[in-house]
């Protein structure tokens, strides 16, 4: 396991600047998530760590080695792809075993047929098989070892891809939207399993996703990336409660934070920090209820306010005494101390 750090990393594809001066330190054993909308450069950054793309400027260090000039296979990094990228013509055991075969057997020993006759081949094959069996055991896919990828479900393929990554105990794991091809229920389950696996292995993981619930639930820290720039790197809780910029405040949190234009900047209030009160209550913003969404444990009240382009949203506990109706005239009032203030450029103003 190893720490990873980026220093002033830049990357352009033609005239498009995809990464604009990214610097970031990831601790040994940390679970760091790169969160951002598609096209923000997060996958490119991951590919640069892996060695699948070259950075134009800056440096990348894994452990105490500077790796910018090393090819992918010498970086001791494993990656799990969104498409799983399992070799379709190999069995599960061969898929998981390939990275070990490549490292423990020389080119002659790997030759089909002839290789078996060379000294050491049998012992090497045995050691690979043993480690593959161990990894399969840890991921609960022992009985699938002889199947081909086409005979597996999405969740099973995901586990095989993880097995292939962890079997050689790499310095770090890179995961590129690994859960986005799974159905919603399985995604929640795999989320927990992945975190658990990461804790058990004590592995450094960089996890790329556009799904903020994955970022919030799994990570030690989240790095929010927008348009090729790191906006803020912080633990999930802090990211939500204490965003540095308006862009982060708006990107993190669902439903979206309420933003009001004020003189010299913006005020932003989380939906759960909005109180639904009478429309003539002091300090309240008066409006009319356009929609009430009942989600079981809570309700979302959408309130249309004159001169504000989007409806403001308040989150109400289901147990709340109020039962707002569509069309009702109400007031919204931010809870004291829960207003986040930003200047005209979107930077946070702290009192």
């Amino acid at each position: 396991m190893a720490a990873i750090s980026f220093e002033n990393v830049r990357k352009s594809f033609g005239a498009v600047e995809v990464l604009k001066d990214v610097s970031l330190d990831i601790a040994d054993g940390e679970f760091l998530t790169l969160l951002g909308p598609s096209g923000c450069g997060k996958s490119t950054l991951l590919r640069i760590v892996a060695g699948l793309e070259r950075n134009d400027a800056g440096s990348i260090t894994i452990g105490d080695r500077r790796v910018d000039a090393l090819p992918a296979r010498d970086r001791d990094i494993a990656m799990v792809f969104q498409s799983y990228a399992l070799y379709p013509h190999m069995t599960v055991a061969e898929n998981i075993g390939l990275p070990l075969t490549m490292r423990r057997m020389n080119a002659w020993q790997r030759l089909p047929g002839l290789g078996a006759l060379l000294p050491g081949t049998r012992a090497a094959r045995k050691s690979v098989a043993k480690d593959v069996a161990e990894a399969a055991e840890a991921l609960d896919i022992g009985p699938l070892l002889q199947r081909k990828p086409s005979q597996l479900s999405g969740g099973q393929k995901q586990r095989v891809a993880l097995g292939r990554a962890m079997v050689r105990h790499p310095a770090a794991f890179l995961l590129d939207e690994p859960l986005s091809n799974l159905d919603a229920k399985l995604r929640v389950q795999m989320r927990a399993e992945l975190t658990e696996l990461q804790r058990r292995l004590g592995a450094t993981m960089i996890y790329v996703t556009h799904d903020q619930s994955e970022a919030m639930t799994m990570s030690d820290r989240v790095a929010v990336m927008l348009a090729g720039k790191l906006q803020q790197v912080a633990p999930p809780r802090q990211l939500y409660d204490d965003p540095e910029t308006l862009a982060v405040a708006e990107f993190v949190g669902s439903p979206k934070i309420n933003v009001l234009s004020v003189a010299g900047g913006f005020h932003a209030v989380r939906p759960e920090a909005m109180e639904v009160v009478a429309d003539d209550a002091p300090g309240a913003i008066a409006g009319r209820i356009r929609l009430v969404e009942h989600l079981g444990s809570e309700s979302l009240v959408h309130v249309e306010v004159p001169d504000v382009p989007l409806p403001l949203i308040a989150r109400l506990e289901a147990m709340s005494a109020r039962d707002p109706k569509r069309g009702e005239a109400v007031g919204l009032r931010p809870l004291p101390g829960r207003v986040l203030k930003f200047d005209a450029t979107g930077s946070r103003i702290r009192d």
């Binding site: 590919r47 892996a50 060695g51 090819p71 296979r73 498409s83 990228a85 399992l86």
Partner: protein, 278 residues
């Protein structure tokens, strides 16, 4: 569409297909039929598919004894096999590079391959002949094989197939420690089997049947490929003995038909470039 319309459509469609089939198969049927008949029946005015007196044994014996038909078949196997093997060795790495690697001039190279695809085999025949003459390779196996080793079609077909293999698969392989050559051998080749088979059928059929080029470069009878062999056959027999001649052509056509039947399903998979489903 109602049922009757569908039925009518079916009948029409099949009628058209059967018509085409008859037109295409008729010469072959006639070839086989002739190869079974004695000379007097071949030229009889009465049309019949099966002979009254079977002459199959004589015709086929003659075909194998008058000219070294087995030798021609062996030549055919050596030449087509040699061409296909060398074509694979050249076109697989080329196709992989053109499909999956990023380097300067790649698009220009690929355009040149496409242009190569448009050039008919006869166009460069004279310069090739002169070149083979200069290096003293005329009238040899090399003269039959070497000019076809660089196959624009092979490069094009395999490149199109490699394009359908997801990039992530190569990325995963690189991280797993494979070099480019090993990615080609361990990952791409096994996946490309159907396309290679399609290419194989096309290449082997083309060169097995090629008459033009062997006719130009081969003088020695022992080096003749099967189609050229039939020509020697005609010279030998002054062109009148059609029974054994047709027997000979049946024998040289049969391997191709068998090859295609054996590879049919995978051949169709290959030319339709069925992509990867992990």
């Amino acid at each position: 569409m109602n049922r009757r319309g569908t039925l009518l459509g079916h009948i029409l469609r099949h009628a058209v297909l059967i018509f085409g089939l008859v037109i295409m198969l008729a010469p072959f049927v006639w070839m086989i039929s002739t190869s079974l008949k004695p000379p007097n029946e071949i030229f009889s005015t009465k049309l019949s598919l099966l002979p009254n007196n079977w002459a199959a044994a004589e015709n086929y014996t003659k075909a194998f004894t008058k000219v070294p038909l087995l030798r021609y078949l062996l030549n055919g196997v050596i030449v087509t096999g040699g061409i296909f093997l060398l074509q694979l060795i050249v076109s697989l790495p080329c196709a992989y590079a053109l499909a999956k690697l990023r380097f300067k001039g790649r698009d220009i190279l690929f355009t040149m391959v496409l242009i190569g695809l448009m050039i008919p085999a006869q166009a460069p025949a004279i310069p090739r002949y002169v070149m083979l003459y200069e290096v003293g390779l005329l009238d040899s196996y090399a003269a039959l094989i070497v000019p076809f080793v660089f196959s624009a079609f092979g490069i094009f077909l395999m490149r199109q197939f490699f394009k359908t293999v997801p990039d992530d698969l190569m990325h995963a392989a690189r991280l797993d420690g494979l070099g480019e050559f090993e990615i080609l051998c361990r990952i791409m080749l096994p996946l490309a089997m159907p396309a290679m088979l399609a290419f194989g059928v096309i290449s082997i059929v083309t060169h097995w049947n090629d008459f033009f080029w062997p006719l130009i470069v081969i003088q020695t009878g022992d080096l003749a490929t099967p189609p050229l062999g039939t020509l020697f056959f005609r010279n030998e027999e002054a062109g009148s003995d059609f029974g054994p001649l047709m027997a000979g052509t049946v024998v040289i056509t049969a391997p191709l038909v068998l090859l295609f039947l054996a590879a049919q399903r995978r051949f169709i998979e290959g030319v339709t470039l069925s992509g990867m489903k992990g």
